[in-house]
Amino acid sequence: MADAARSVSPSLAAQVTAFAARLRRQHGFLIGPGEVRDALRALEWVDVLSRREVRGALRAVLTASPEQGRTFDLEFNAFFRAAGQPQPTLPPLLPETPAPTEPDPDGKEQQPPDREPGPDPDQRQEPAPPTPQAGADPGGDLPDGDALGDGLDSPDGDEQDAPVMQARVSPNAAPGEALRVDAGDLPGLLRAATGLIRALELGRARRLRPLPRGPKLDARRTLHAAARTAGDAVHLRWLGRPRRAPRFLLVLDGSRSMGRDATLLLRFAQALHLRSRRVEVYAFSTALTRLTPLIRGAAPGQPLTLPDLGDAWGGGTRIGENLLRLARDERGRVNRDTVILILSDGLDTGDPALVGRALRDLRRRAAGVVWLSPLAATPGYRPVQRAVAAALPHLDALLPAGGPEDLHALGRRLRAARLSRGAAPPVS
């Protein structure tokens, strides 16, 4: 390969431009003229006769997340496929999670194919990475020099096996349909969100920061200021420990039994996001899906419209598996400033031991874990559901979430609970 960049042929340039436009139109990729220009420039630095290099170059320029990477690969194959090759099924642009297992007729749990534990690693399937990986480029089996559109892709099916997300019957969404949530009382929810944020006292940060007043003299800034007064430290500068701002991680049980309450929490999540940028939202039914990008992109005051959430909405309930998946795959999003709010009625068909294990792990790393239950709003409620009982030792509070009034009281109730570790979780 010569060092100097070579220009791209007009026909290839036209193909790439059309491909970029397709990604933008059909999947909402943030691709503008600058990205198209960069994509064409990128092709000048790779071997355009190598399908793998072209795909790698375009993917590096046109994608910005692993979810986009997966969609890109499928679209790339569809767009540059040879005649006669079947059109692959494209998943929606959402974080994909393999569906948890269903119990087999013997009552034993089948492990998901990508996470099958067992004593014999040789006989186990290779863990299926969620995205094409560095060395395991999906087109990796193709010999170098394959031109664009010159035939089938790798036979290992990495890109052919597009997982299809299926919607379940739900009070909110029909199979394969978008979920629409009314705007509701946004000002009221914003007040509730503000109350929640103000109620949380997470203490002070460990790191010293420049503050107007503080316990420690900031020698660097004081000396800097002294340079203007001929070396006399007239203006003292201080360091202090700022208050720790909370992060929120909302986990919504979107199963059939939770329909109305889950949509209320979705609106609350949106309101919370408008008050604090540090909000992550996940939904689960039988599988877990990250909703943060959708919540972030929603217009305030307008009905919230989400695409078909498949196994994350309107199906059965797998609390333990999904909390465990959250604790394992998204552990980077949980730190000592994170308050985890779980909304679920606790009616679960999975193993309650998994709930306990996941919550123990999450609570160890978070500022607090709070379970919101619509059932807890009913008089005489006792936390006897298997999942709730397993979770109880690891919770800072188990609070009712029967309607907007409970959300308004959330901050006050959390203040009463104080998110104190080691204390028995209060049940309101």
């Binding site: 943030l30 790779v46 071997d47 590096a60 534990p117 290779e126 660097r220």
Partner: protein
Amino acid sequence: MIPAVQELQDAFQTRGYVAGDALATSLRLVVGLGKPLLLEGPAGVGKTEAAKTLADVLDTRLIRLQCYEGLDAQSALYEWNYARQLLHLRAAELRGDGVADDDLYGETFLMPRPLLQAIREPKPAVLLIDEIDRADDAFEAFLLELLAEWQITVPELGTLSAVSRPHVILTSNRSRELSDALRRRCLYHWTEYPSRAQELLIVQSRLPGINETLARQVTDAVHALRALPLGKTPGVAETLDWASALLSLHADHLDAGALQATLGAVLKLREDQLLAAPTLQGVAAKAQARG
């Protein structure tokens, strides 16, 4: 001279880093296009190592900025040596000399930090901005200007343009969502755990003294562990640590005793060790049966 993708892969491999096609292509574009590369992926998959190896391959300097919460632009860019400035002022006073601003705010008292160092390098350096997701939003916003304009403004000195444009690699573990603005300025690559064959190759490249049986058993065992719902999934670094620990014990295969003695090199949480016990027993039993 910018190496072609295959040449880059070969050069990486001779240094013990197995780079896939997509990563190698992205790294080539970093050099060719002059755009930063955002490397995301789980901890321990070799994101930082990719930058180090690139610097080695290009025979240039690696400048590393480790991000943390509270990192400010001043700590990343430059600082003035205030104590020395004050001494200079006092000395001038004693001599009865006047001190001009240019004397006080000159190169003598300027302490360049990683970002300033990177743009002042005569030969393009590899600038590793490690764990950008740990830095605050404000620092991320500050980086946008640098990555777009390749220049830095020091109020007392004016605008300093890059002598050479560094090859920038940012890494992130996704503990915080990065802004679209930053993502749009970067090339993007998601790094996953290597496949079994790749990891075997990595072990054999990094530890040339290891026998194939042991290397294969360690690799297989690590892949079995990654399939479990562990709290801290072992990365490539843990695989290498484990293999090194076994080598230091002169083990030539993975039996129950060696496994027990070295388990802490690969599983760092007690809960994970308990959870993985049945899997590891199976691995040891199989290794013993073969032995």
